[in-house]
Assembly symmetry: C2
Homo-oligomer: 279 residues x 2
DNA sequence: TGTGCTTACGCTGCTCGTAACAATG
DNA sequence: CATTGTTACGAGCAGCGTAAGCACA
């Protein structure tokens, strides 16, 4: 059987035009190349070169052989790449989410249920998530509504309710609840990367100027030191310390109350059983 | 780089299910297979097997690896086959003809012009010839009419005229010429494998019973020893000895006079120059 | 106890690089 | 005489098979 190494030599000779140069590029001695090509011809049982005493170049069969060789060698390299990628996916639990809170929660649960797996989490637009789930980029996605179709199953696993976080100087601090519309028109602090909540804010509060913060600690500093209103949620309040100088007021709108669902492919139900049991 | 041999081992293990059986089939010792598979895993940088102390079988990645391996190995084997076939075609001058006489003539010319080439000659139906020329099964074909299109060029190179060969007892022996129609209705001796002439005979002499002979020497014996009419041609008479007891009469019909043309692909014009010059 | 995989070990022979040689321009 | 390809030669080690070890049914 021919060897891949011989094919690599062949391709190098095609590229560098003389055996000497090819040998140099391959970091082998030139006689090795001579023999390698001789042996390849023997094994293929066809001549691949025209030879004169100190010059060698491809004949037509040789040129055809190069084409085959390139394909085979690239296939072999592809094989390695694809297997590594496949193996990586086997050991990765990939979660895509429409919002940060349920992602954080689910991430914890997954790392408990599958301690040997790498966990990969992302916040993305909902249409991207659905495509990704079907294409198996994601093992599981988190969505704010449920589904049940031929491929996909879903279960609810947490709720999140938004609140206004107002400075004590704010005129609304004595209200029992406030609507988004009532608050619209001010300037507000807002974290970036909050998934579908961001879209909701833009829609329901079109006249508000959101001062978007990428850095979590900067955001909290500003909440503490400024009189700008901001949002918070019951999940955030459970997991993070609240500043003292703020009044928390419920939001009336339906849109500020989300129920989150895990979506997963039915074909993965068995593998996911232990996790689903936890939720 | 992985080796094709390792992939062959992998495929054998897939087929025979235990290393021992695969090793036996491959005519190698079993430890060689153990090491070969270990090394393959190392080089691919992924585990391919589940192992217990005395049992080994594929994991999911391994099954995928087998698929890749099968493709690569079969490609490598294909490479050899295709190169051999390509090389063979390079050294073969293949002629297809509609009739035997011009084929014999052209065959001689070709073997003079390309003494290093293998010459392959066939008599086939004309539509088969044309397809074969386009598909490069034939280097050149011989047809009874000319052509000139985008791909194909043709030149005339010989004529052949048929004659009746009659026993001296035949009533027509004093005629200057006879038509096919006049002779129709008798029994006649005919060689097989005479290409398009056969079709012509059947069309122009529908009431004649042709006694077809496969063996050339039997045909000549019958011509000599029987009183059955037969055909001959100016080309045949030039190259073969004529029996004494026969009278040769020209045939009137156009259909009994053929001009033969070499057809070849324009792209081959350069390669064929020395031959074309001879014709 | 037989089957199957892995590891240990020693030997063979393959393949490497160096060197010498031949041809070419 | 610099460049290139082929052949000769000796050394090193890669990979082979045998044998021993270990687990399992």
């Amino acid at each position: 059987m021919i060897e891949l190494e011989q094919l690599i030599h062949l391709i190098a000779f095609d590229e560098y035009e003389t055996l000497s140069k090819a040998a140099e590029q391959l970091h082998i001695s030139q006689p090795v190349l001579t023999r390698s090509m001789q042996k390849l011809e023997e094994e293929l049982e066809v001549p691949l070169f025209y030879r004169t005493k100190n010059r060698i170049h491809f004949n037509e069969t040789g040129l055809l052989a190069v084409k085959h060789a390139k394909r085979i060698v690239s296939d072999a390299k592809d094989m390695k790449k694809q297997l590594i990628e496949f193996d990586r996916k086997l050991h990765t639990f990939s979660i895509g989410s429409c919002a940060p809170a349920p992602l954080q929660y689910l991430g914890q649960k997954v790392s408990q249920s599958y301690p040997q797996k790498t966990i990969l989490t992302e916040i993305r637009d909902m249409n991207v998530l659905i495509t990704g789930l079907k294409e198996k980029t994601y093992t599981m996605i988190i969505m704010p509504y449920s589904i049940e179709d031929e491929q996909i199953e879903s279960i609810s696993f947490m709720k999140e309710n938004l609140f206004f976080s107002l400075p004590k100087s704010h005129p609304f601090i004595h209200k029992k609840a406030i609507s988004l519309k009532e608050m619209d028109g001010e300037r507000m602090l807002l974290m970036s990367n909050i998934g579908f909540w961001h879209q909701m804010h833009k829609e329901k509060m079109p006249n508000t100027k959101f001062l978007i913060q990428n850095d979590r600690s900067v955001f909290y500093d500003l909440v503490e030191l400024s009189t700008l209103p901001s949002f918070t949620s019951d999940y955030v309040m459970k997991t993070e310390q609240m500043p003292q100088n703020r009044v928390i007021i419920p939001i009336e709108d339906e849109a500020a109350h989300a129920t989150f669902y895990c979506w997963y492919l039915k074909e993965n139900e068995v593998t996911l059983k232990s996790l689903l049991y936890q939720l």
